[in-house]
């Protein structure tokens, strides 16, 4: 197998298996791509290598990155003491690699970082090139960095962020300057009421503890009702599933990837190749995504979700005009146990309540000390500074 485990890779960077590295197999955790070798590297990987960083290897992900934190990988999920572990997050936590690049499609690396108590930053949509991601939800997925602390996260993010002409949604700035030194004492932070209320007691305690630390640093902390958390979750589910369905349709057994050994005609080739190579969550997402894009439902599902996206963006911007950051759980629990595959779709949907707002708005989010912080677009430095000042 291609994944790094115990090899000595300290100082190197691990890369999620949904991100392409030239000539290194990229499976996206799916049997469909078991033997797929890409012809080129992702832009983020190229930038790292050009800056002198070495790629340690690929880290296991859930199939196409759609799940909670890697449990749906065709190549077996990673667990520890009966609990699920995000592959990249646990490597960073144990110091086996300096940092990791992960695709934040539906919150998986945020949940993994929260559970493993490492930092993960998902930057503003469009600041890091998506060229070279095995794409699912193009309108919201983004490469982010898992690291041991805010300074490492800042260091790696500075290398990979910047305009890329190969990505049509890449923002124009050539470079971004990030800081971990902004003055937290002068900040106003709000706790997202709906997300706080939906979390377990242990998670609530983490939020409370974090809020206390912030107050000690001189920051103002208040509770605020977002008024759009459920809508953001449902709209993102619709957009994410529809785009994923469309992007995964290229995996048809014709050009590369898994092809069923026996078929009578082209339709059978398609159906058998896809049915035999994809797992339950991918299939459920495809069925859901196809349904919301059907002609009869387009208006009231996809199109409506696009309109909700705009409302959620406006609402979030309004809140972030009054506050520097939103403090919220990244997940409902402090750890996850393996569960029955047939529950995967609902389970991920429920958990996406905590992660959907940054995904649907494209705003930056950071997980640190098991909690999530969300800031307005381009305000990564606010997140990094808060994380850094709470670290010490």
């Amino acid at each position: 197998m291609i994944y790094i485990n115990e090899i000595n890779a300290a100082g190197k960077i691990a890369v999620d298996d949904t991100i392409l590295v030239k000539d290194v197999p990229a499976t996206a955790g799916s049997k469909m791509l078991e033997n797929f070798k890409p012809l080129f590297s992702a832009e983020a990987v190229e930038r790292l290598e050009k800056a002198g960083y070495a790629v340690a290897g690929k880290t296991n992900v859930g199939e196409f990155g759609l799940d909670l934190m890697g449990e749906t990988s065709y190549f077996a999920p990673e667990t520890e003491n009966g609990s699920l572990v995000g592959a990249a997050a646990s490597l960073v936590a144990s110091g086996k690699v300096k940092a990791a690049l992960n695709v934040d499609l539906n919150g998986a690396p945020r949940r993994a970082a929260a559970v493993s108590c490492v930092d993960f930053i998902k930057p503003t949509y469009g600041t890091v090139s998506r060229y070279g991601i095995i794409a699912c939800a193009c309108s919201g997925e983004q490469i982010g960095v898992t690291a041991k602390n805010a300074d490492d996260a800042k260091e790696i993010l500075s290398v990979i962020a910047g305009h890329d002409s190969k990505d049509g949604t890449s923002l124009p700035a050539e470079k971004y300057e990030y800081s971990t030194e902004e003055n937290v004492a002068e900040m106003k932070i709000c706790i997202a009421k709906e997300l706080y209320d939906a979390a377990s007691a242990e998670v609530k305690a983490k939020i409370d503890g974090f809020a206390e630390s912030l107050k000690k640093l001189g920051a103002k902390v208040e509770e605020v009702s977002l008024g759009m958390a459920e809508q953001a979750k449902t709209a993102w589910q619709i957009l994410m599933s529809a785009e994923t369905t469309n992007n995964l349709s290229r995996f048809d057994g014709v050009k590369y990837g898994y092809r069923t050994p026996e078929y009578k005609n082209i339709d059978e080739l398609y159906v058998k190749s896809r049915s035999e190579s994809m797992g339950f969550l991918a299939k459920a997402t495809i069925i859901y995504g196809s349904d919301v894009l059907a002609k009869a439902k387009y208006e009231k599902c996809y199109d409506k979700s696009l309109r909700i996206r705009r409302i959620v963006c406006d609402k979030a911007r309004e809140i972030l005009a009054d506050y520097d950051a939103i403090l919220a759980p990244a997940c409902s629990q402090v750890s996850y146990k393996p569960y029955d595959t047939a529950d995967a779709f609902e389970k991920v949907y429920e958990e996406s309540l905590f992660t959907a707002i940054p995904s649907i708005t494209g705003m930056p989010a950071m997980v640190t000390k098991g909690v999530q912080l969300i800031a307005d677009s381009y305000k990564e430095s606010v997140l990094l500074s808060i994380a850094k000042s709470v670290e010490v």
Partner: protein, 469 residues
């Protein structure tokens, strides 16, 4: 009862861009070997993202101007999903929600044909079936080559109008440099129904897919007309709205498998491509780069003093009018240039069975200049032109090598005549003794010395004068 045809056309045309619509692979110029012109993007590899070819957008806007359309300054790309092996991503990027041009019209004689919209989209690949191994192969060379689809309103009432429209579309698109419209690069879907003359209601519609030959389009329309009228009048069949294809061997249309037509394409905006905003400045730039239309050019040529009939021929073909414009710009007089193109060049094209005028304008300009300045005779000019058509020779070098120079002064001829007379005592004596024929052999020697230069009449008179002196 009399019936009338109601026909609408969807015409797909390949745009003349250097690269494909969303990647940097070569564009319309067709490569030789299958899958020669393919990259990870246009073969559907994961990780690649589309980047829009700006030139394709500009050409589509030009087509919009040409067909009197309103240009949508906010336009988007959308995804159309269906599974087929020649479609590597299992979706086609097209324009569904905000097409680039809308509400235009074309004049066909007295009739105005409405244009509903023009949109930009990528082409699909090609399946090649190998009978020997009973295997299908996929060729992605054509995948993602930019197309425009020109959708007309159902304004045609006869197959002749359809053919006239397609011919006009083809020459205008070629003229404006929007499309080469090569064989097979212009494909039509024909929507056809029949109704009693004078009725305002529409009959049951058939769509004949993917036609490219004008004569087949005409035959298919005529066949459908008879089929529809028979169905209405004699109840030969129950008409249903359906997609059909023309079988050129059996000379009739057949319904296509229902499965191919009943698909839900699940259109949605492509999140990888930002909406394109064509601001006023860009729009003005594109407009300024529009070539004059054939009609405008013809009028302009008449103003230059070219006869109406000649002006019409010159402006009807982009290559002819480009040649005329270029050579006139090089300082030759319009009337002379027109005559050279219409008589000499077109004569050469006919002789060599060429369909387009492809010689270098500078060469034609030089030939005309040499003739006008009397450096060579018109007959010699034709000889050079013929050599340019055949072997693309260098004009001045060719004249020199073949001694076509007409301007040799008389003193040089006289000198030669006197020298040759001096060298041919016997012939001179013969001539003087009354053998008139002897002069012919002396004349031959002089011509040989002059290597064919000089006017034979002048030489002969000089020779006679010298001999009789």
């Amino acid at each position: 009862m009399k019936y009338e045809l109601v026909i609408g056309l969807e015409t797909h045309v390949e745009l003349s861009t250097d690269s494909k619509l969303f990647c940097s692979c070569g564009g319309h110029s067709s490569p030789k070997e299958p899958n020669d012109c393919v990259c990870p993007a246009c073969s559907g590899m994961p990780g690649m993202l589309p980047v829009t070819n700006k030139h394709a957008i500009e050409l589509a806007v030009k087509a919009g101007f040409m067909l009197n359309c309103k240009i949508n300054q906010y336009t988007t790309f959308d995804k159309k999903s269906y599974y087929y092996p020649d479609l590597p991503c299992a979706y086609q990027i097209t324009q569904w929600f905000h097409p680039i041009c809308v509400d235009g019209s074309v004049q066909i004689g007295e009739r105005t044909i409405g244009i509903k919209q023009i949109h930009v989209e990528e082409d699909a690949g090609k399946l090649v079936h190998d009978e020997a191994t009973n295997t299908s192969f996929v060729d992605f060379n054509r995948t993602s080559v930019p197309l425009i689809e020109i959708v007309s309103r159902p304004d045609f009432r006869s197959s002749d109008e359809v053919i006239a429209y397609l011919k006009k579309l083809k020459s205008s698109l070629q003229f404006a440099g929007i499309s080469e419209c090569e064989e097979g690069a212009m494909r039509c879907d024909v929507n056809i129904s029949v109704r009693p003359e004078g009725s305002n209601e529409l009959g049951v519609r058939s769509e004949i897919k993917n036609m490219s030959s004008l004569s087949e389009i005409k035959d298919a329309i005529e066949f459908e007309k008879v089929r529809h009228v028979d169905a209405i009048e004699r109840h030969t069949e129950m008409l249903v709205q359906e997609t059909r294809r023309w079988d050129d061997v059996k000379r009739r249309t057949f319904p296509m498998r229902n499965k191919e037509t009943a698909a839900d394409y699940r259109y949605f905006p492509d999140p990888n491509l930002m909406p394109i905003v064509i601001d006023d400045e860009w729009l003005a730039e594109i407009k300024a780069s529009m070539p004059a239309t054939a009609e405008e050019k013809s009028g302009y040529y008449e103003e230059m003093g070219i006869a109406a009939k000649e002006a019409a021929v010159l402006s009807s073909d982009r290559k002819l009018s480009d040649m005329f414009d270029d050579v006139v710009a090089m300082g030759r007089s319009p009337k002379t240039v027109a005559s050279w193109i219409l008589t000499e060049c077109m004569g050469q094209m006919k002789r060599l069975e060429l369909t387009s005028l492809d010689i270098e304008p500078a060469k034609l300009a030089r030939i005309i200049e040499l003739v006008e300045d009397g450096e060579i005779t018109r007959a010699a000019g034709k000889k050079v032109l013929s050599a340019v058509f055949e072997n693309n020779v260098d004009v001045d070098k060719f004249c020199e090598e073949n001694n076509l120079n007409a301007k040799i002064d008389n003193s040089f001829i006289l000198e030669t005549v006197r020298r040759v007379i001096g060298e041919n005592d016997k012939a001179v004596a013969d001539y003087k003794s009354g053998k008139v024929k002897a002069m012919q052999s002396i004349f031959g020697c002089i011509m040989k010395e002059l290597k064919g230069n000089g006017d034979p009449a002048v030489i002969r008179s000089l020779l006679e004068k010298e001999l009789n002196a």
